[in-house]
Symmetry: C2
Subunit: 186 residues, 2 copies
DNA sequence: CCGTTCTTGAAACAGTCGTACCATATACTG
DNA sequence: CAGTATATGGTACGACTGTTTCAAGAACGG
């Protein structure tokens, strides 16, 4: 008896809140502007999520989920050579459409460095779908226990993303990836 | 005539404020707690720096200045081989003592992505002493106009720093640098 | 209809924020 | 001493924060 709960509302709000955070970033996120943009109220946000902190956690989880999904859809074919996969992933993740994700990714990383206590699952929360990404390089190794080459490949991608987002110099960063591929061939 | 100005006060405050920001980060920086920690008052901070924004700019400039100085003091000798210099720089910048600098560096980068308008000098303000660092790799090139190899080297350092700061896995990141050096030798 | 549960608005609370205003204290010149 | 400039405390303003409280509305079962 009683009015039945409506979980769809929370879900819809979460989806739109995630859009909003991807567009505006985490640092200045505030309940009142967010609520206004979502045509709801701070009251309802707290009713659905309990607290701002929990809302943020939910949004970050949703963003990760989306990133992983989009990535899975666009991964280069299994059959492709390691180099082709590396180039494919770079092309995908460095595309302008991914900029909001990348921005949020770096923002969370920085926040995690300042407040590790907010990210009990450290590596997971922060690197998550980046790990998914790294998993595709499992066979660019020197052996079954080689975690080193994937680490290096991921570092190159992250480092070049960092460069690209600050300088905007696409040609130079693209060329650097070419150079890395060249090194890897030997 | 009149009481003579005392620029030393502003300088001393700037130095201590920089310590504070390196220790506590930028995101939650607030005048009142900062003033309390420096045994001064918000009133004086504004008197000396004009506004919080200008104070932050001054602190970031000071942090960059320090980083560049410390780096210059610890750069591997000119005579060293490129590989030795790369290893030396990695050892220096990945040392725990540098963690506050690295943290602030990533924080500024993330903030710059969200608010480019606050960083009119983009690449300079953000990468500055990282560029100083990159300059030492000028001769790991394929020719005089090769900006690509330094870009790649810097990307590896930044990417591995990112990894190290999130996962804390020093061995794996050190090994990845070894692997990169190995690739560079061929 | 009643009772129950979920939903929602309006307002207020207790705090922090950067900053401005006003007065006063301090240190110097002439 | 007066005059003048810097230095500094205290206080308050207005805007914003996340959150709570109180009350009413809305949708269901019996």
């Amino acid at each position: 008896m009683g009015r039945p709960p409506n979980p769809a509302r929370r879900e819809a709000t979460l989806a739109r809140a995630t859009d909003y955070v991807l567009a505006h970033g985490l640092a200045e996120l505030s309940l009142r502007p967010l609520a206004a943009a979502l045509d709801t109220s701070p009251r309802m946000l707290l009713y659905d999520f309990g607290s701002k902190q929990e809302l943020v956690s939910a949004v970050l989880a949703e963003a990760r989920r989306r990133g992983a999904t989009r990535l899975a859809e666009n991964l280069p074919a299994e059959a492709a050579s390691p180099e082709e996969r590396l180039r494919g992933i770079w092309a995908w993740i460095s595309a302008p459409e991914r900029a909001p994700f990348v921005r949020l990714f770096f923002e969370v990383h920085a926040d995690g460095l300042a407040h590790p206590e907010n990210y009990p699952d450290r590596a997971e929360a922060i690197t998550d779908w980046f790990n998914t990404l790294g998993a595709t390089f499992r066979d660019i190794t020197t052996g079954p226990d080689d975690t080193v080459t994937p680490t290096l490949v991921m570092a190159v991608i992250r480092g070049l993303l960092f460069d690209l987002t600050t300088t905007g110099d696409r040609r130079r960063t693209d060329d650097a990836l070419d150079r890395f591929c060249e090194l890897l061939r030997h």
